[in-house]
Amino acid sequence: MNNLLFASFSTATLLSDAVYYIACGVLALAVLLGIHFMSKVEKAQLGNRISAWAIALGIILTLIKKDILPVWLMYPAMAVGAIIGLILARRVKMIEMPQLVALLNGIGGAASAIVASFAFTSLYRSGEFFGKTTASLAVVVGTVTLFGSLVAAGKLHKLITQKPIIYRFHQTAAVGLLFILTVLVILGGFFSLIPSAILLPIMVIVAAVFGLLFSVRVGGADMPITISLLNSLSGVAAAIAGFAVTDILLVAVGGIVGASGLFLTQIMCRAMNRKLMDILLGKTALKKSKTEKKETTEESRETEEKDPVDPITVIKSAKNVIIVPGYGMALAQAQHLTKELAEKLKDNGASVKFAIHPVAGRMPGHMDVLLIEAGIPFDDVYEMDSINDAFKEADVTIVVGANDVLNPAARNAEGTPIYGMPILNVDQCKHIVIFNYDLKPGYSGVENPIYKNKEGVWVIQGDAATTLKETLQKL
């Protein structure tokens, strides 16, 4: 790559190849060390800093080794990007994290696609098949990531409907486009029949349409899987672009990101009872008629089921309480009220635990962040597997805006979309108080038998922010 640049004094001579490669290796290890520190909450912040420094040093190292320090144009561009990034990071609300991550997935994919386009154009007339093939592939993967992510971010930000949009011949078109993309990559890698100025835009357009088709059919609650997958793709795009421009650090870090996204995708698939292959083939969308049921009218009623004992007495006398927060709580902005409820119960001498299902929220770990932001200590927050046996002993379980993740139909209702999905064993609890917007089924469209069970179950309907406040006053 150096021979493409000429300068009277070359900073490249400051670093021999050996030193440069060793330095790249050290930086890649530093990134891995940073990730290793993410395994402990106490060290996670340090880990993030180590990774950040590794990338910063990687930039400096590249500028020196490739002898491009004096190219002034790069510095204002870096400054603009840095400022936009910092503003985004500072302004974003925690409930908007999924769309931010989706957007950044797309931006990363776009950057890699442009980098690969440069490599593709400069290598196109050469015999560098490896470079040309990887460059074409990176253009395609990066562009798919960009457009897939833009749709995902748009859906999460409610700019586009959350419902799955399925066009006629959707599946056929997707498979057809995938085939065309394969042909285009082969054309770009091994044959130089068409001028690159024509082939490249065709690749980008076809990949863009494929990305759109891929994301548009995904419904709101399936987003955790889609975002994780796009997260992975953004890393893969970077790694393949790294092959095209022969950059070791780019390949290594891109590979790590790809692996991380893939891992999270698998976790989400397991938690939602979906197969990765089904998602790739477009079977994420649930039956349309069922999801339409979810659409609710604006009216917010509040009716309490009149039972011999009222829920307030039950909550007041409980010594052992489990709270199950769901995305409905986040939508109603009721995190802080939920925290108040927990504190009030603790002041009464009760033990309060929070139970979190892996897919509570719109991305992996989202609910944890929302609870922490509200000021709930994470020692009180339990993952599904570590708390599922505790429901039996609890005096009362309070559900705030969750439905499918505690639907016992997942255990026995064969043939329903949630059958086989791991759930919270809320139904094993003696008393259940549910704060929910309405009695309609959750996203999956499957009726929740707990709602029908009158004994020991109270459903308080309405906007969780309102109903929780009223309940708090009565306690």
Binding site: A28, K66, A116, A252, P377
Partner: protein, 103 residues
């Protein structure tokens, strides 16, 4: 294929496998910061963007090169700074809450 290309493939495989193993240990409560951290890392493509821009500027079409090059640098940099700083913001909350409960 040249030697360096085999090395690249080797590096890719090792990084992927080791990364996968390490990420397996990250607790699920940190999965959101993990993902935004990965956003930041995917901005590593800035290295390619810098090199490609510099190369294109000395090439045959410097105007196109500078436009797309700057765009790539801006986008990659958004990821690097935005990703790391929002991750830091979240992790700071986790740290802060821990201290509060200790008091």
């Amino acid at each position: 294929m040249e030697l360096i290309q085999y090395i690249l493939i080797g590096v890719f495989l090792v990084a992927t496998v080791v990364g996968y193993i390490l990420i397996n240990n990250v607790p699920s409560r940190l999965h959101t910061p993990l993902m935004s951290g990965m956003n930041a890392l995917s901005g590593v493509t800035i290295l390619g963007a810098l090199l490609a821009t510099a190369t294109a500027l000395s090439g045959s079409s410097p105007v196109v090169g500078s436009i797309f090059g700057s765009l790539a640098i801006i986008l990659a940099m958004i990821n690097v700074t935005g990703g790391f700083s929002v991750t830091n913001r979240m992790l700071k909350m986790f740290g802060r809450k821990k201290k509060n409960t200790d008091e």
